[in-house]
Structure formats: C-alpha cells, structure tokens
C-alpha cells in the first residue's frame, strides 16, 4: 500500500465529508475521483446539461427505471432532477430543456393514480406549447391488455404535437422490460452525454449493491409452508405461501410485492409439442442461447394466457384470415372474447400447423413474465420470511382443465422444500404513513387483504398508536374469511381497531365492501378529516372503481361536496399520498 499523500487537514476533511456515505456512494466516489485523476488538470468543472426526469408509476417499475437512468446520467456529468408526475408543477416543465419520461399504463388504458392530473394537464386542449423541449418516453405496459402502453404512446405523441422535439423514439416495453428499457437508456445516455461538452469521467468500480436480486437474477427462496386458507366447500382456493428469504439480504417493506418466476404446466408443454409434431429435444434459439424446445416452452415463454401479439404472430404464420379479422382494431370485443380462457394449445388445436418449425413458433411467443404477489407479512414480525396470499386460477374451457401459470405451478407442483425464484418488487406508492399515529383505512377484499396483513403486523410490531380499520369481503363467511383468526386476534390485541366484512353470497342480495363503506359513511368521512390514509388493494376491474365511486358518494353525502369538489378532495388525498391503491 502506498503512503497516505493527504495532509492531516485534507484527511479529516475527507473523513468528515464521507462519514455518512454508504458503500455504494463511496464506491462511486472512488470511481469519480479516479476519473478526475485521469483528466487534464485544468478541466475539472462539471458542466453537463440539466435533465428533468419524470415517472408515471403505479407499482414502482417506471420510478425505478427513471432513478436508474438518473444515476447513469449523473455519472455522465448531467445534472438530474427526478420528479413523480404527481409533482409535475414543481418540475416546471416549461423551463425544462430535456425531459425524460417513463410511464406505465393501468386499469383499461388509464394512467397510474398519482399521474392522472399530469396526464390530463398534458392531454388537455389548453396545454402549453413546449417549443424548446427535447424529450424521450419509455412506455411500460403489458401486451395482454387491449390498450398496450397507451399512456406512454399518448404522451409521446402529445409532446411532439405540442412542439417538443423527440430525442429518441418511443420505447414500448412489455412485462419483461429490463432489456428494452436498458437499450432505451443507452440511447438516451448517448444522446445526452454527447450533448455535454464536459462530462465527468467516472471509472466504474464494481458496485456492492450488485448482489441484489432482480427479475433477471432471482433469489431461490425455499418454500416453507403452503396451506389452503379456503375452507372446505369454498368455490375458491386461496393459498397462504411462506417463503424463506434467509441469506438473500432482501429487505422488504409493507406494501411491496414479490415477483415469482414460474414454470409452465408440463401437460400444456407436452400438448403443444405434440400438436406441432416436434421432438422434445430439438433446440430453439432463445435470445443469445439455444435450449431444447421442451425447456423453452417450460420456462422461457408464456403459454397461458394468450395475448394479442401472439395471436398476431400466429395469424401471420398460419396465414389465417379469421384470426386476422379478429385482430382488426374495431373488433376488440371479439378479440377479447376469443382470448378469454384460451392458451397457445387452443390456437394450435383450432388451427393446426403440424410440422411447424419450432423456432418459428417460439419466435412469436412472449417471454414468460414474472407474476407479482403482494407481500402479506410484516418484515419485523417475520424476519427472514415472506408470506404471500395466492388465489389459484382454475377453470375449465373446451373440455380441458386449465390452471393459471404461476398459481397452478405453486399450488400443484412446488412442494415444501423446493425453491421458488423470486425478486423484490418495491412499491413506493403503497406505504404505511410515516407517522405511526396516523389512522388508516384499508379496503382489501379477496387476496387484496394480503398487504394489510403486512400493515397490521408491522404496526403491531412497532407499537404504532394510530387507529386502523379494515374492510374485507369475499364470497362466503364460513369458507372465505381469509386469515379470520388472525384478524380476531388483532382486534382483541388492539392492533386492529375496527373491521367490517361483506360476504357477497351469503344472502339473496350481493353485498360488497363498498356497501359497507357507504353504511359507515359518516365515520369514514370523519376519519379522512382527521387525516386518515385510505388504501385499496385487490381487484382492479370492478372493486377499485366501485370503491372510488363510493368514496365520492361519501364525500358528497357527508362533506356536502359537489361532484367536482369530491374529485378534487380525492386528488388532494392522492397528492398527499393519503389515497393509495395497489390493484390488479
């Protein structure tokens, strides 16, 4: 080791400066300093462009990508400012020179909750012009939805319309967004770093945080427990799954989700191979690799459910006009009806292509996306473990029993002791209030109750004093009251203050959580007025919109608000992170 060249003064300055830095920051700084050392001595000023980065994110993916990009750009010497679309006013977009956006699509082509206002502002006729702005958009989505990447597409087109200049083309991403997103970031970084005269050179030092697990590098979590929460006679089959995170270093927070990387049903794989008359062992290209057809179909591509791009690809392969007609833009209801309950084998059965080149077949398939599950355990109460609440998808169609890819795999083929590839999917938009005294209202019917188990366990563990109120619902009281004994225990111990339940099929009239909310309108309003946070988790199609409508009704009824004012009230709650949703 070389002797320390610093003066005592310099050494203590350095120490003071870096005392609070974490390992990642220190490593980056070492690289930065090494880069400085490699430069001509007169050229030290940092003078990269100032870049505004905005994310429209529901479950955190877009946010994470934007933050990664921001780090890379800073490394390249840019000055970066990252904003949640929620805070777009603070971002002062009209003054911005460079604007980079990552936007996901939710609902049926809707913006993320927190981004609705920004989206509306931009799409509105009165939107300002952005003549001086240069922009790029990364669109996140899921091609199994009809309105694939709609929000990103809209923003990209709209910014151009408003006079802004596109830096790089719109990048659309399906659920496996890692690679396309990385490619887009490379492009963006090149453009911006190129535009900087005096970018800082940073010599990369291997990042200690690189040991963290991700979708492309999942952690093999051992299955500890798998039990069915649904009582005998239930029409549902909801599993409580406990996985070991021992040794992973994964630290999650209540509100986060776990991504599970499943394997396809072997019977389905065999059926498909059979249908095209191929051999299991024939190899097909998968990205850079080449693997057997059997393995490719088992673990690399999605076979269930069927999605539009796959039908598109298949229609082209088969030259099938009927399929093509289904894909016509005006026929989306027909296509949805066709997709429902179908998988790849149905396609091959409806329209047989014996002797089809296996490589051509896998060429049209979508990469098998991970499935997300809300974490149902509080980290403090369950160190080294994570719990999930998984509703098995099972149904019958065309005389064949179907299982959901991930849920069928977990329920039927993963045994205790086996490992499940998982990664942490953080969700900064579904968080307990920072102040433990803040009251919380949680609406979580069905598996939507999962994160609230984590919330309550965590609040109990940290001794939070805030009141809590849970609304749960499902079909039948006797069989579908998920975690019933635990809620009873939490109510006894005081960790949960109140609970209301709605069992839809126990009486002649269907009763849902929103009915219970309405029955308690006055108290809900009082809680909100006292600063309560309102959380919704579970079904995105019917439940979440119904609850939203009910909240508006409650505000009108109890607060005397107009429709418009009720909407503003809710927007205000969202902006203050007091109305958070995790719906799927």
């Amino acid at each position: 080791m070389t002797a320390n060249p610093l003066t005592a003064d310099q050494a203590s300055q350095l120490q003071a400066l870096t005392r609070t830095w974490d390992a990642r920051q220190l490593l980056w700084a070492s690289g930065f300093l090494a880069g400085q050392a490699a430069r001509p001595s007169d050229d030290r000023a940092i003078a990269g462009p100032e870049v505004t980065l905005l994310y429209l994110s529901q479950s955190g993916n877009s946010e994470k990508l934007i933050r990664t990009l921001a780090r890379r750009l800073t490394d390249e010497g840019c000055v970066t400012k990252v904003f949640d679309a929620l805070d777009y006013r603070k971002a002062r977009l009209k003054q911005a020179r460079y604007l980079l956006i990552a936007a996901s699509t939710h609902g049926e082509g809707d913006p993320p909750d927190a981004a609705a206002e920004f989206y509306d502002y931009l799409m509105d006729d009165r939107a300002p012009r952005f003549a001086a702005l240069k922009f790029a958009v990364l669109a996140l989505g899921d091609s199994s939805y009809a309105q694939f990447c709609k929000i990103g597409r809209d923003l990209d087109a709209r910014l151009e319309q408003l006079g802004a200049q596109r830096l790089v083309p719109l990048q659309e991403c399906d659920l496996d967004f890692d690679q396309p997103a990385a490619a887009w970031m490379d492009q963006v970084t090149d453009m911006l770093a190129g535009s900087a005269d005096n970018a800082v050179a940073v010599i990369p030092v291997r990042d200690v945080a690189a040991t963290s697990y991700s979708r492309s590098r999942p952690f093999a979590a051992e299955l500890h427990t798998d039990l069915v929460l649904s009582g005998r006679g239930s029409t549902k089959e909801v599993h409580h799954v406990e996985l070991s995170l021992e040794g992973s270093g994964i630290a999650y927070r209540p509100g986060d989700s776990i991504g599970v990387i499943p394997r396809n049903d072997p019977a389905l794989v065999a059926g498909i191979i059979d249908a095209i008359g191929a051999s299991q062992a024939v190899t097909v290209p998968v990205g850079e690799d080449s693997v057997t057809l059997a393995e490719a179909l088992a673990s690399r591509f999605e076979l269930h459910p069927l999605t539009r791009p796959v039908v598109q690809g298949f229609a082209d392969l088969a030259g099938d006009d009927h399929l093509r007609s289904l894909l016509a833009p005006e026929n989306s209801t027909g296509l949805n009806a066709f997709l429902r309950g179908r998988d790849l084998l149905d396609l091959l059965t409806d329209c047989p292509l014996p002797g089809l080149d296996p490589a051509a077949l896998v060429g049209i398939l979508r990469k098998l996306p991970a499935r997300l599950y809300s974490i149902a355990s509080g980290p403090s109460a369950n160190p080294g473990e994570v719990h999930l609440t998984v509703a098995a998808v099972r149904y019958r169609n065309n005389e064949r029993d179907r299982v959901g890819t991930a849920t069928g795999w977990l329920a039927d083929r993963v045994a205790v002791g086996d490992s499940v590839p998982v990664y942490l999917d953080e969700n900064p938009n579904f968080r307990l209030p920072a102040d433990p005294d803040t009251p919380i209202i949680m609406v979580g019917p069905g598996t939507g109750v999962a994160p609230f188990r984590a919330f309550i366990e965590e609040r109990e563990a940290v001794g939070a004093a805030g009141r809590s109120w849970l609304f749960f619902g499902d079909r039948h009281f006797t069989t579908d009251f998920l975690y019933q004994r635990e809620w009873q225990g939490f109510l006894r111990s005081g960790a949960l203050t109140r609970m209301d339940v709605a069992f839809s099929r126990d009486q002649a009239d269907r009763v849902y959580v929103q009915h219970r909310l309405l029955e308690r309108a006055a108290e809900i309003y009082a809680w909100l007025e006292e600063g309560a946070c309102f959380y919704v988790c579970g079904d995105a199609n019917a439940m979440a919109p119904d609850v939203d409508r009910t909240l508006r009704a409650i505000l009108r009824k109890e607060g005397g608000f107009s429709e418009q004012a009720a909407g503003d009230y809710l927007e205000g709650l969202k902006r203050g992170k007091r109305y958070q949703r995790d719906v799927y």
């Binding site: 409580h240 069989t479 019933q484």
Partner: protein, 571 residues
C-alpha cells in the same frame, strides 16, 4: 320457600352466569349481530341452552380449520320442544323445510321425542327459531337448567290411554315452562313493554334449577320412554274398566356419569306412590321446587335431582313433598312393563285407527343415495296434510309413528312408503339393529369422546353376522351406544351398553333388563372393535346354546353370572 342464593358460597360458574343474565338475556342479541365470528360470547353459550339452542362446531374440521387460520366451523344445534313427541303434519313439513333451508339437510329425532336441527349458522339462527315458533312449536326450555321436553309413551295399541296420558303430559309441560320474556325478545322480536309489570320467574327464580330436570309419562305395558331414567316419572295405571285411574310416581332417575368419578353414577327412579290424574301438574311443580331449593349449586357434576335424593334420603323427600303439596300420596299400584323398545309395523288402536311405527336408524331423517327416507316421509306427510289427517309421534327410541289413520289413509301411506323403499313392517333391518340406538356424538357433540351415530350401524352389521352364525337373526338384543358417559342414548339401560372412552374405544356394559327396570354393569373398561367382538362372539354363542326359552340376552348374562361381580372383571 325460595332460598336466596348465597353469593359467597362457592357456587358453580353456571350459577353466576345465570344470576347476572337478567333472566337469560345476557348479551345474546349483541353476539348474534357480530359479523366477524360465527360464535357468540362464551358466557352466552350457557344461556342459549335455555332457549333451546347449543353452540357447536364441526369437530371433523376443527384441526383442519385451525391450520387454515379459520375459526372453528361454528353452528348451532336447535332442539324443538315437542311434548309427548306429538306434532301435526303441517309442523313436520315446516321443520323439514327449515332443515334444508338453514340446517344440514337432516332432521334428528331424539331419545326424548324431540327434533334437533344441526349445523344452523348464526346468521340463520333467529330466522329458524322464529319459523319454528310460527309453526306453533317452540324451543324454549328444550335444554338448560329447567324442566326439559316431557315425554309420553306412544303406545299405539292403547290409543285410549294415550289420549289421557298425553293430556297429563301437556299439563305438566305447560306448568313448568319458564316465564322470562327474553325468549320472545331475542327470537321473536317482541319489545319489552316499558313500565309494565316487573318481569318475574315465579316458579324457577332467577337462577333456575341447579341442573336439567326430566319428566316422562309411561303407559304400560310399554316402557318406550325409559321412565326410570327420569328425574320424575309417571306410570299410567288403568282402572278396572280400561280407563285411567292415575299414575304411579317415581323419582330420582338419571343416567349421566363421568369417567373416573365414582361419585357420579346412573340411577333408576324409585316408585314413591300413586297420584290422581288431575294432580300430576301440582305434584311435578312441587318436586321441581324441592330440587330448586335443595339441589347442589356448587358442584355441577352432582347437581342432578338423583343426588339430592341420595344425599337426603327418599323418606326426607317424601315428607318434604307431601308437606309442600298439603296432601299425601297413595300407595303405588301394581304394574308391569314388557319391553322398553318400539314395536314396528301397523297396529290398530282401540279407537279403530291405524298406527304405523317406522324404524329410523339412530333417529336421523336424511336422504341417502340408496335410501330417500327424508323425501319419502315428506311425500307421506304432504299427502296427510292435504287430506287433513293423521298425526306424527316421535318415539322415545328415536323412531317415528304415523298415527291415527283410517284404512284408506293407511293404504295410501303404505303405497307412498314402499314407493320410496321405506319399510313399515318388520322386514329389512335385523331385530338387533331395530332394537339398538346411538346418541349423536361426533361431529357435532362437543362432549363426545368417540363416535356413536356414525359408527353403530357398521358395528351392528358385524354383530348381525355373529347373531346369524348362532342362528339368532330374529332375536333382538338392545344395543345402545354413546360417545361419552353422559348417557344420551341411555346406554346403561342396554342389554349391551357401549360407552365411548376415546376414539375407537368403548366401555362394555352388560345385563340391563329389556324392560328398562334394571341397569347394566360395567364389564370391560376400554375395547376397540376387534376386542369387543372377540368378547361378544363367545357370549352370544353361549347365549344361543344355553338360554332358557324366551330368555333375553340381558337377563341371560345376569343369570349365568357374567356380570354378577363386575368389579372382579375390571381390567
């Protein structure tokens, strides 16, 4: 002389619950409304018994649901009070409807001539009890520390005496009904009148009886109510002309005991005298008040009337009773019972009408894939209801008598029964099976230690083989099984009594008389099925060979000394 309850005297927990219940209200109403649990508050589960309903849970699923993080599958058993077991076709049909609508789809005929529903969820409890009341039956005092359903022998062949005995039964039942308004408030939605008379429970007082109290009226020659197993029994005595002279009175019967507790035991009632028919209700009331005042309120296990009698003596009791009555009992009259079980098939009564007794295995009216009993009975009863004919009588042995039919009605009933494969005559089940019964036990009974109702049919099939091998297929043996020593299926009055000890294991009791006037004795402490059969097989073979003509198995084992000295055989 209602002695005030001494608050400090170490009363049993139930006494305190009763005392603070405000005449059986407790917090039952609040508990019914709690949507987060299928249960009610712990203390209230003691109180609902008085209203005729027990909180239970499906014990088959207890472990499973615990693991599933679900509370036990709570539900309620409802016992319908049917004095003398007599009900109308319309009432049967309403109960049948409720069984499918709110219960587990079966009706259970009990050993005390009542109906039970099982598996009624809390949210349906009020509606069920409300509708039972709408049908002019009720559930009040079907359980609890009060006088229970009063039994009355069915005696088809003595239709004339039945009418009078049944009259006495109803008079007693009415006299001893609790007066609290709680029942009406909770189940029938009746408001308490403000400013009205302060509510009172004149007969029972606010802590009711120390324990349950049971009364039966028997009509010789049949002891189908097992009259001696009751706290208080009345035995109808004919006058010289075939009319009713009055009743022999017996007191202090009761069967419940606890394994390993010697101070608890089954006891048969002692006959203490004779009384006129118009005095039975007064007499019953005074017997009840004596037990109210002197029964043990500290040790619930010894709170039954039989222990009051044994502790204080029969003479003391007779004195106290006559003092309270103000009149003396007459000498008991001679009487004779010839059997305790039911006779199946059709009998013509003295009224010229027909009575058909059906064997209902263990009292469970249900549809099985191969035996649509419930549907078949429904068709029969619907037809009767349409014609405005007949009545139904539940027997004390869990069976059913379709009563008071004309020739034409009988033919119609027979046709409908055979259409559904239901036998009204003696064919079908073996004599042993038709003479046997089991209590409910698992999965609903919270006290069961072993199976009974679900298991006895199988065991009987095995016994049938042994009987057949000894040429005894047509001979009855009264086999009675219970899941625990409480004695609900009156096992201590079985020629063969099987009393559950632990899963798959039973005590074997032998040697009761087939007339229900001699208890059996403990022969073996804990046997599984194979051990049991290994013991019974040689006994039955020996019985086949050595019995006297007409001698019954229960009498045989006593005569030849098999249970002469039960203690010598203790394992």
């Amino acid at each position: 002389m209602n002695r005030p309850v001494d608050e400090t005297a170490g009363l049993s927990a139930n006494e305190r619950i009763k005392a603070r219940s405000r005449l059986l209200r407790g917090s039952i109403l609040e508990g019914l409304k709690d949507p987060l649990t299928g249960a009610i508050a712990e203390e209230d589960t003691q109180l609902t018994k008085f209203h005729g309903t027990y909180q239970q849970d499906d014990r088959d699923l207890r472990q499973e649901r615990l693991a599933q993080k679900l509370e036990p599958l709570y539900s309620f058993m409802i016992r319908v009070r049917v004095p003398g077991g007599v009900c109308t076709p319309r009432q049967w049909l309403e109960l049948d409807r409720l069984a499918t609508r709110h219960a587990n789809g079966t009706l259970r005929l009990t050993t005390r001539q009542a109906f039970q529903f099982h598996g009624v969820l809390k949210r349906n409890l009020r509606d069920t009890i409300y509708r039972i009341n709408q049908s002019l039956l009720d559930t009040l005092a079907a359980c609890g520390d009060v006088n229970r359903n009063v039994m009355c022998g069915v005696v088809p062949e003595r239709s004339d005496l039945h009418a009078q005995a049944y009259g006495a039964t109803v008079a007693i039942a009415d006299r001893l009904l609790p007066q609290t308004g709680a029942y009406h408030e909770i189940w029938l939605g009746r408001q308490r009148l403000a400013g009205g008379e302060p509510e009172r429970e004149p007969l029972y007082g606010e802590t009711y009886l120390p324990r349950k109290f049971k009364i039966a009226v028997a009509v010789p020659p049949r002891n189908d109510v097992d009259v001696y197993a009751n706290d208080l029994g009345f035995i109808a005595i004919e006058d010289g002309t075939g009319g009713l002279a009055g009743f022999n009175v017996c007191v202090g019967g009761g069967l419940g005991r606890t394994h390993g507790e010697e101070e608890t035991y089954p006891r048969l009632a002692d006959v203490i005298g004779f009384c006129r028919p118009d005095r039975v209700a007064d007499l019953a009331q005074q017997v009840v008040t004596i037990q109210r005042d002197y029964g043990d309120r500290q040790n619930r296990k010894r709170a039954r009337f039989k222990y009051t009698i044994d502790d204080r003596g029969l003479d003391w009791f007779r004195e106290e009773l006559q003092r309270r009555l103000g009149w003396k009992l007459d000498e008991a009259r001679a009487c004779h019972f010839d059997q305790s079980g039911d006779d199946y098939g059709w009998v013509q009564g003295r009224d010229g009408l027909w009575y058909g007794t059906l064997f209902i295995e263990n009292g469970r009216v249900a549809d099985r894939p191969d035996y649509p009993l419930m549907t078949g009975l429904r068709r029969v009863v619907e037809a009767l209801e349409k014609r405005g004919r007949g009545e139904l009588r539940l027997t004390g042995n869990q069976n059913l008598c379709i009563a008071a039919l004309s020739d034409a009605d009988r033919q119609m009933v027979e046709a409908l029964l055979s259409e559904h494969g239901i036998m009204a005559d003696r064919s079908g089940a073996s004599a042993l099976r038709r003479a046997s019964m089991a209590c409910v036990a698992l999965p609903t009974c919270g006290l069961a230690m072993a199976e009974a109702e679900r298991y006895l049919p199988h065991l009987v099939s095995r016994l049938d083989e042994i009987m057949a091998a000894s040429g005894l297929s047509d001979d009855p043996i009264v086999v009675r099984m219970t899941g625990c020593p409480n004695g609900c299926g009156r096992p201590y009055l079985g020629e063969v009594g099987l009393v559950g000890k632990s899963p798959g294991h039973y005590q074997l009791w032998l040697g009761a008389s087939p007339q229900g006037d001699r208890l059996n004795q403990l022969y073996r402490e804990s046997l599984d099925e194979e051990e049991l059969l290994a013991i019974l097989t040689p006994l039955i073979r020996r019985y086949a060979v050595e019995r006297h003509p007409q001698e019954r198995f229960g009498d045989f084992v006593v005569r030849v000394g098999i249970v002469d000295n039960p203690m010598a055989f203790e394992i």
